[in-house]
Symmetry: C2
Subunit: 205 residues, 2 copies
């Protein structure tokens, strides 16, 4: 972390936004090296070269900083999911690609990146707002894809759409929710195609 890059300023406006970004960037680096759970706001302040009080001007708590980092990771996963879905036309293939992308992207972010992993686990276990919002957006993507498949008559229409969307979400969730994924990651690569097949059989008209 280059301390010189951070120039605290009491001024309001765009500068606030820059300081927040700088704190988040420094915190990400610090958490990556030392872990989220074990780091205190004092540790962060020391590492960044700010006073603790100054950090508290911009963030209410360590969790508030963690939430921003977590939201960025989840945004990356969501982008991967949307890219995967947009790459194909047929709803069944969209669902298959979505499941693949969400698992691979989560594994990459949360498992390969062990030190950021504990932010994600805290976030998932404690249901941070960023996680609840992400879950909501994933369910919305699922509902859209299921609706499309019903329109093209590739998916059955008897089951209420919301029930189907919830159930498919619940089948996928253990393979992208970081708190669950930590106990599942050895299975994830093998489980995914079997579960995709099961879900698609359940959707057939």
């Amino acid at each position: 972390m280059n301390r010189a890059a951070i120039s605290p300023s009491p001024a309001r406006g765009p500068v606030d936004h820059e300081v927040r970004d700088q704190i988040v960037a420094a915190a990400t680096e610090h958490f990556r090296l030392y872990g989220y759970e074990k780091t205190t706001v004092s540790d962060l302040a020391k590492a960044i070269g700010f006073s603790k009080a100054y950090i508290y001007k911009f963030f209410d708590s360590k969790q508030a900083i963690g939430e921003v980092i977590c939201a960025k990771c989840l945004h990356e996963i969501e982008t991967d999911v949307r890219t995967a879905i947009d790459a194909v036309d047929r709803p069944p293939e969209k669902l298959r690609r979505m499941f693949k992308a969400i698992v691979e992207s989560s594994l990459r972010l949360f498992v390969e990146n062990r030190k950021l992993h504990d932010i994600a686990v805290s976030a998932a276990a404690e249901r941070w707002e960023a996680v609840r919002a992400f879950d909501g957006r994933i369910q919305a993507i699922l509902r859209d894809t299921l609706r499309q498949g019903r329109e093209t008559e590739e998916f059955e229409r008897k089951t209420p759409l919301d029930e189907t969307a919830t159930a498919v979400f619940l089948v996928m969730r253990p393979y992208f929710n970081p708190a669950l994924l930590q106990y599942n990651y050895e299975y994830a690569e093998e489980a995914r195609p079997h579960l995709s097949n099961l879900v698609l059989r359940s959707l057939s008209p």
Copy 2:
């Protein structure tokens, strides 16, 4: 724990078996009060009134005692599952009952009984032998039920039986595996019927 009930004896044979049972009973009580993770073999020895060396004559480690307790809990769940399945005739209803029984029994054992819960979480997270054996037996019950449903033509037969059994197992697993269930238990009651319906739709011929 009534210490007078425990009469250590160096003799071999059936007495060994009794002492093992006494250690397990005392350990269960102790773990229930103080938790598994935080208890050492020394704590247990003190509580039971045995020497640590004496306990090590019968069990290699704390985990070995935990495995016996865990195996008993899992045996209880398996009995509940078998009872639920045997109570009905049709394979689809058997599956539905199986899922209900395994979730309810796991919630009762692992969630309501908070102090034994941490043995179960360790067991599941570290894949103790007792857990692997249990998973194997649950998969076997699933395979039998699926095979029956294929014979009665209530279930589709195109998908290889093992793939179907694995996939259905993976859908249920987050709701009975204690390491996963700790992050899922608020969802479990609501998720179960939706997931049962999804699985049954996936099995329809």
